[in-house]
């Protein structure tokens, strides 16, 4: 255990010594900034457009274009696209060292292969977690500073209105759930990374799988509906369950478990493959 801790520290140090590790943070900061500025400039129109069909039957009062709504908008918009940024780093963790030749040096040290891959995997999950936390902090702080707090108005199949003091925990829990979703993506890219000798292939494969699953899930054919529960992407978006009333806790927990099982499965295969493979590069 002590070895894994030492190795993980080294992996995190190596990860953050690479420029590409900061691309995702930069992209998220930029997007959050752009979305918030756009909402400052055109937020009222945006909100009116979203609620135009309801204006005849509802009376809108108070600060409805508030920081919580902007965070919800950012969550909806960014969580679909962050997987690419996650894959960019996770797909490089093993394959990058294989292609660079540094893996040979690591594997001629006293640490076992299992210890090394475990440390790399922890680093992979740590990175995904940090990215989602960065997104949460940036969007919450900037949203509240620019727009203040208020009730959250969510229009889906039904209209949900959450009072101001009932929103923050839901947003934080959503980010928590997103950590699981993004960690699943990271684990998938990590799995591919253990099989290939270049870091481009894992990134492409991960994105192809996510896009394919999402497309198939969105088509309303009975055959796709049947297989939809077997796509992990189906569960990644279930953070939205937190913005429904009543809260479907069992479905939420079930989604969390499915994602955790996927993470464990992807890591298991990665470790098995890494342990048995010949290092030829």
């Amino acid at each position: 255990m002590k070895n894994i801790l030492i190795l993980t520290k080294l992996e995190i140090y190596k990860l953050f010594s690479k420029g590409r590790s900061y691309i995702a943070f930069g992209a998220i900061a930029f997007l959050v900034f752009v979305i918030q500025i756009a909402l400052v400039v055109d937020g009222e129109n945006f909100f009116e457009f979203q609620t135009q069909n309801l204006r005849d039957t509802f009376l809108f009062e108070g600060n409805l274009l508030n920081g919580y709504l902007t965070v919800y908008v950012i969550l909806t918009a960014l969580l679909i696209h962050i997987p690419f940024l996650i894959a960019l780093v996770s797909g490089d963790l093993i394959a990058g060292e294989t292609s660079a030749g540094t893996l040979r040096f690591l594997l001629t040290r006293t640490s076992s292969r299992l210890e090394i891959i475990t440390a790399k995997f922890i680093t992979c999950i740590f990175y995904s977690t940090l990215l989602v936390i960065a997104m949460a902090v940036l969007s919450l702080v900037s949203g509240i500073l620019l727009f203040g707090k208020g009730d959250l108005f969510v229009v889906r199949d039904t209209i949900y209105i959450f009072s101001e003091n009932d929103v923050l925990w839901r947003l934080i829990a959503s980010f928590g759930f997103s950590i699981l979703g993004m960690s699943t993506v990271a684990s998938l890219a990590f799995l591919f990374s253990s099989f290939t000798d270049n870091s481009v292939t894992p990134i492409i494969l991960t994105m192809v799988i996510i896009i394919a699953f999402m497309i198939l899930s969105s088509i309303d054919l009975s055959i796709f509906k049947m297989i939809k529960p077997f796509f992990f992407t189906t569960y990644m978006n279930n953070w939205r369950l937190l913005f429904e009333e009543p809260l479907n806790l069992s479905k939420l927990i079930n989604s969390c478990l499915v994602l955790v099982l996927h993470i464990a499965f992807f890591f298991g295969i990665s470790a098995w493959n890494f342990n048995k493979k010949d290092i030829l590069s």
């Binding site: 070895n3 030492i6 190795l7 080294l10 140090y13 190596k14 010594s17 690479k18 420029g19 660079a100 030749g101 540094t102 040979r104 040096f105 690591l106 594997l107 001629t108 040290r109 006293t110 640490s111 076992s112 048995k276 010949d278 290092i279 030829l280």
Partner: protein, 308 residues
Amino acid sequence: MFDTPQMENVPILEVKNLSKNFKDFTAVNNLSFTVNKGDVYGFLGPNGAGKSTSIRMILSLIYPTSGTILLFGNSIKTHRASIMKKVGAIVERPDFYGSLSAQKNLEILAKMQMEEVSKNRISETLDWVGLLDRADSKVKTFSQGMKQRLGIAQALIHNPELIILDEPTNGLDPHGMKDIREMIISLNKDHNKTIFLSSHILSEVEILANRMIIINKGEKLVEGDVNEILLSGKQNLTVEFQNVDIALTLINNSKYKQNFKSVEKNKIFFSIERNNIPELNRFLVQNNIDVLAITPTRTLEEFFLSLT
């Protein structure tokens, strides 16, 4: 800088019936040899002979199809961690984290050894390989020769007993080759390190090693004392003359005609037993032939041909 253990003639690396197949291709076939403590053991063979595959198996980067590898009397399969504490290695080209400094690279690799290695020790090692003044430079700014020296530094950082060097002079200019060879000699003579040196250059092994094995197509051709192996069989010799025509006439009318191979400009090439070289020289001088130079020129390829 290094501990200086007593020299003992005990096996440090024992390879027994080692084989590796990649699908239909046999990279290493039933290879056996022993490296003793204090040896500079030459592992010689042309490119593609199976040297790197064998080294990777010794270091457990590649799993053997069959055979056993014992290091310090223990199997690498079952005692990997304790064995790797005593082994330092460069496998093929030395690759590092280019965006990190030489010092940081060594710190990372030292920590991966799970042993406390002081900053002082890292500085000493960098100093020994002549890189102390570049300790804080990013490795991506290093030349091939500097990377090779840093490769040796990383292999030494934990003060191992056995150092495995896979083609350490590959890609270096003559000056760089000389530096690395001097380091190898010093490691063996001054610090009593056992060196396992893979190379495809016969002269390199001839200069550095006391024992050697020659492999080709994954199989052992010969193993033993370097001098004994190299003295056996014929050697190619280049003799440079003031007047090659007179020398050629003399040779064609002598018993050395059978040793004659070819002529080029003012040089004549012979294939001759090493023990007969002084006699040939005497014969030429006694016949008033001005000899400018006598150079043994046996290449690895030619040596292989003499073995097979």
